[in-house]
């Protein structure tokens, strides 16, 4: 089987990740719930993972790395916890439903108004639009670092400058880029960086989190057990516990820590170059096959290792199913939880077949996928 659905989740994980989860399941008590060796073992591993992530993302403090079950929960926490009645928020057409739906909900529940920086038919946005959309009520820019459909990236330095200049909160969805592209919260003026553990960070599903700039006030989605200040009626505000009510996914977090360590040991640039090469080779070949249309901006220097395409007017579901049944190649068809992006690309009806590459894919696998597309197009 050739797995090319890494933008959904990375299937192949470094062996260290699997070992770390197994070890954790054999050793870990409940973090922050006592000081016997087993509880401390959990606290230590979770703390180490916070350190690794704060270092990876340039988060000023490890205790401002908050763990959630995925980026969806992190985005909901950030958006729900900071946007108030009547605020205006700027986002983009590139977003995933994990950004859009929390925003649409606030539109209904808190009379929040929304503006979207439009994407063109190549899926790219115009940066001047961010400033044009600003009103006196604008509170935040919420935007993705990379489109999960086209692989197009957003220049976070540029958007961050705009957010800083106009004193807006800057909330970033790094689901598709964390671990592959450099992210520096300080340099990019990011207030909240949301990430998921199970994609390019190589962690288990059920891990993810948010890095929070010190000094922000985020109202938690949930309150409850914290292991501290048991007799107070109000959940403690200090981070990370303020946004982490309930027992953490310690076993998963141990795996996520091992994933980040693997990235650091291997070298993020090394990983990125390999993945970019696979995507580039695939793109260069398939874009020449008659009847294939590829979506996204391939002139850009930097892009996530994703190639979304359609074959003639075949249903993307049919093409993806043929790839799976006839060639054992796993891709994702249909709509990719990015409704505005499909509208911009004109693929609402057809969907798109998405090929997404990872460090564990080989160039041979890419050539097999190219051959498969050539055969299917005949």
């Amino acid at each position: 089987m050739i797995y090319l659905d890494n933008a959904a989740t990375t299937l192949r994980k470094p062996p260290e990740v699997i070992q770390a989860v197994v070890n954790a399941m054999n050793q870990m008590g409940n973090s922050a719930r006592g000081t016997h060796d087993e509880a401390l073992a959990a606290s230590r591993i979770i703390y180490e993972t916070r350190e690794l992530l704060s270092d990876l993302f340039g988060c000023p403090r490890p205790d401002h790395v908050i763990f959630t079950s995925n980026s969806t929960e992190a985005l909901n926490t950030a958006i729900y916890g900071m946007i108030s009645q009547g605020d205006h928020v700027i986002s983009t057409d590139m977003e995933h439903n994990s950004v859009l739906r929390p925003l649409y909900r606030l539109e209904r529940e808190r009379e929040v108004s929304l503006s979207f920086v439009p994407a063109d038919e190549g899926g790219t946005i115009c940066y001047e639009e961010f400033e044009r959309q600003i009103t006196p009520r604008t509170r935040a820019i919420v935007c993705t670092h990379g489109s999960n459909l086209t692989g197009n990236l957003v220049d976070l330095v540029r958007v961050g400058e705009i957010a800083k200049k106009h004193k807006l909160l800057f909330i970033v969805d790094a689901s598709q880029t964390a671990g592959v592209f450099p992210i520096d919260m300080e340099k990019m003026h990011i207030d909240v960086l949301c990430f998921t553990g199970h994609k390019s960070l190589f962690g288990p599903q059920g891990t993810g989190g948010m890095c929070v700039r010190p000094g922000l006030d985020i109202v938690p989605l949930k309150v409850g057990g914290s292991g501290v200040r048991t007799y107070e009626k109000i959940h403690p505000k200090e981070l990370p516990v303020g946004l982490e009510a309930g027992t953490l996914n310690g076993h998963g977090i141990a795996g996520l820590g091992a994933g980040v360590r693997f990235i650091k040991d291997t070298g993020m640039e090394m990983i990125r170059r390999h993945e970019e090469k696979l995507a580039r080779v695939f793109y260069e070949e398939v874009c020449q096959i008659p009847g294939i249309q590829v979506y996204g901006d391939f002139q850009a220097d930097c892009r996530a290792p994703i190639v979304a395409l359609n074959l003639k007017d075949y249903d993307s579901s049919e093409v993806s199913d043929e790839l799976a049944q006839g060639y054992s190649i796993a891709t994702r068809p249909g709509a990719h939880c990015a409704p505005r992006m499909h509208q911009a690309l004109g693929t609402v009806e057809q969907g798109a077949v998405r090929f997404s590459f990872s460090w564990f894919n080989t160039i041979e696998e890419v050539h097999t996928a190219i051959r498969a597309m050539k055969e299917l197009s005949q």
Binding site: L311, Y314, D315, S316, S317, E318, V319, S320, D321, E322, G326, P333, G334, E349, Q350, G351, L376
Partner: protein, 78 residues
């Protein structure tokens, strides 16, 4: 691409519904498999059970009997 065939399709509101369907059909040795939902159909979840049209009757009565979480039933060329 392969030739189109006529199929009997069942769609579900949720992925859980599709999983229940697959498990039950396997147990009972009913024909078919899960495929991505074709675009002609707008359905709750991204999966559909595709089976030969001859099996429509027996599967249809099973869906009712087992109270499967069905969104729709179709016969289409895919």
């Amino acid at each position: 691409m392969r030739k189109k065939e006529l199929k009997y399709l069942v769609t579900f509101h949720t992925t859980t519904g599709a999983m229940a369907m697959e498990k039950y059909c396997k147990q009972q040795q009913l024909p078919g498999r899960l495929i991505p939902v074709p675009r002609q159909i707008s359905a709750g979840c991204g999966m559909a059970w595709a089976a030969p049209p001859e099996s429509r009757e027996v599967i249809h009565s099973m869906l009712i009997e087992q109270k499967m979480d069905v969104d729709g039933e179709y016969e289409i060329w895919i």
